[in-house]
């Protein structure tokens, strides 16, 4: 093409990519080291630090909590976010225009402020159990992704198809599941993945809502780094990376990652 970038620009871009990918390679490398201190390149390959993760009770427990939270929060957010997104598109005339802004608020308000406010009002003020508070926080956190991504797919959905189905005798509720939902499947999958990743990696909101006995993996890592600086942290980081990738892969296998092709 006529606008092929100059070699200087390509060199800059290459350096930026080294800068982007390098640190992750280093973490993976460090996690495989046989030494008791963090080092790169790894000296002697070993998986002992991965085994070590599971010997530390706190890590074992927080991995379970983080997974539970991510699945539950994502599920809940989809459960209430899909109808909301549908309403925003299908019943646009009925609903006030500011309503769509409401669902963006959790992104607009700094996460750390949300966490702190939930601590005051919900965890302490209303004495909700820790896990419930965390679940509320995470559901709020991921709701905007669900509503926005699914809204975007619904925006390109031709609602006359739905009307055609209803005119052929399909009841509205069933039509939603048999006609509308399958056509926005890509959006639902994208929303699921985005929401899951956001939840499982969250620090700022969870920070205030974890408590005695219940914590999430990123918070536990943060606490661990401040006390110990051994390769366990690198290996648990790698584990978190792979958990994310694994969920994406499973979703891809079962539902198809067609949205990535778009």
């Amino acid at each position: 093409m006529t606008t092929r970038p100059s070699p200087a620009l390509i060199a800059i871009a290459a350096l930026v990519y080294v800068f982007l990918v390098g640190p992750l390679v280093i973490v993976i490398g460090a996690s495989l080291s046989d030494t008791t201190y963090l080092t790169f390149p790894p000296q002697g390959l070993s998986l002992r630090w991965f085994e070590n993760i599971f010997e530390i009770t706190a890590f074992r427990r927080t991995i379970v909590t983080s997974l539970q939270l991510a699945f539950l929060a994502t599920g809940l957010a989809l459960l209430i976010g899909i109808p909301a997104a549908y309403a925003l598109n299908r019943y646009r005339i009925q609903l006030p225009s500011w309503l769509s802004t409401v669902f963006v608020l959790p992104i607009l308000v700094p996460e750390i402020v949300l966490g702190f406010s939930l601590l005051k009002s919900v965890a302490v003020g209303a004495s909700f159990p820790i896990f419930v508070s965390l679940l509320i926080g995470h559901t709020l956190l991921v709701l905007p992704y669900c509503v926005r991504v699914i809204s975007a797919s619904l925006a390109s959905f031709d609602f006359s198809i739905e009307e055609a189905a209803i005119s052929l005798g399909s009841p509205p509720a069933r039509t939603f599941f048999t006609i509308v939902l399958p056509n926005v499947r890509a959006g639902v999958i994208a929303a699921f993945i985005l929401a899951f990743i956001t939840s499982i990696n969250d620090v700022s909101t969870s920070l205030f809502l974890t408590g005695p006995g219940i914590s999430t993996l990123p918070i536990q890592i943060l606490a661990h780094v401040e006390q110990f600086f051994d390769p366990t942290i690198a290996s648990v980081s790698v584990l978190l990376m792979f958990l994310t990738v694994a969920v994406m892969a499973i979703v891809e296998r079962t539902l198809g990652l067609t949205f990535l092709a778009k």
Binding site: P5, I12, V102, P110, G137, S204, P218, V245
Partner: protein, 275 residues
């Protein structure tokens, strides 16, 4: 008459969740800062009369602005190269930019601890090639926080801008060339002006992300490089000064909301595609 309320019924659960657990609690947090016994604005007077607190706010603004500027420049140049890359390479480059985003803030900040630490990779390298005998202490400086934040947010900038640059029709670039503009001239006179709204959106994302961050300043800045996020946590969870913490929260909300609203409005006005 059920039909009239179908829309509301469907949107209700999500609306209630946001109203009860976001709007109310955050409003309560901001509210407490105006309900202080010592006077309506006394928490703010306390905040702004303290040199330390002003420094924290100023440092947070400075770090966020520098981070935004650096990732804007490198993100734009990289996004330009990515957007002009041939099909297959382009997908690989986009995936390579997405992957860091899938990895959490903690992991990515931690990576810089390994790199910048006293016995870190960078120091080992510098000592190894004889540039220095004594390892530099690079951690817990403003520089280390900025490097990690640029690392954190550049992928976001690249992805935002690749989208924007790809939306510039190839026709316009060809029209510019056919009228005699050199590739550099086309970049300056056509591509850049059309990318400005996208640059603003990217800048807002990076700025608010940096401004409200916690994990990165906590890991790489520590006590010495206290920022608004880490300061809020300290006031709330170490000093149990909830009014002080609420004041910090309120200032963060005001600044981020103001920046987002102002900049998106400017971006919308500058966007010729929407008119």
């Amino acid at each position: 008459m059920l039909k009239r309320y179908t829309g509301w019924t469907l949107a209700l659960p999500a609306t209630l969740l946001v109203a009860l657990f976001l709007i109310l609690p955050v409003a309560a947090t901001i509210g407490t800062t105006f309900a202080d016994a010592k006077g309506v604005f006394s928490p703010y007077v306390t905040f702004f009369s303290s040199g330390f607190r002003r420094t924290v706010l100023w440092r947070t603004l400075e770090v966020s602005l520098i981070t935004t500027a650096i990732s804007l420049v490198f993100g734009f140049l990289t996004a330009f190269v990515v957007s002009r890359a041939p099909g297959r390479l382009k997908s690989i480059l986009i995936i390579a930019a997405v992957f860091p985003l899938l990895t959490g803030v903690v992991v990515r900040s931690f990576a810089w601890l390994i790199i910048l630490g006293k016995n870190g990779i960078l120091n080992n390298f510098l000592v190894g090639i004889g540039i220095t005998d004594e390892p530099f202490s690079m951690l817990y400086t403003q520089g280390s926080v900025i490097v990690a934040m640029v690392y954190l947010f550049t992928p976001l900038m690249i992805l935002t801008l690749v989208g924007v640059l790809e939306n510039i029709p190839e026709d316009l670039i060809q029209a510019s060339a056919s009228l005699g503009a050199s590739p550099a001239g086309t970049f300056r006179q056509v591509i850049f002006p059309l990318a400005v709204p996208g640059l603003i959106v990217g800048a807002v994302l990076v700025f608010t992300g940096s401004f409200t961050s916690y994990a990165t300043p906590q890991l790489l800045g520590g006590e010495r490089q206290m920022m608004m996020g880490t300061f809020l946590y300290q006031r709330a969870m170490v000093n149990f000064d909830w009014v002080g913490a609420s004041t910090i929260a309120a200032i963060m909300v005001v600044i981020t909301v103001a920046v987002v609203l102002a900049m998106t409005r400017i971006a919308k006005r500058l966007n010729p595609m929407t008119t």
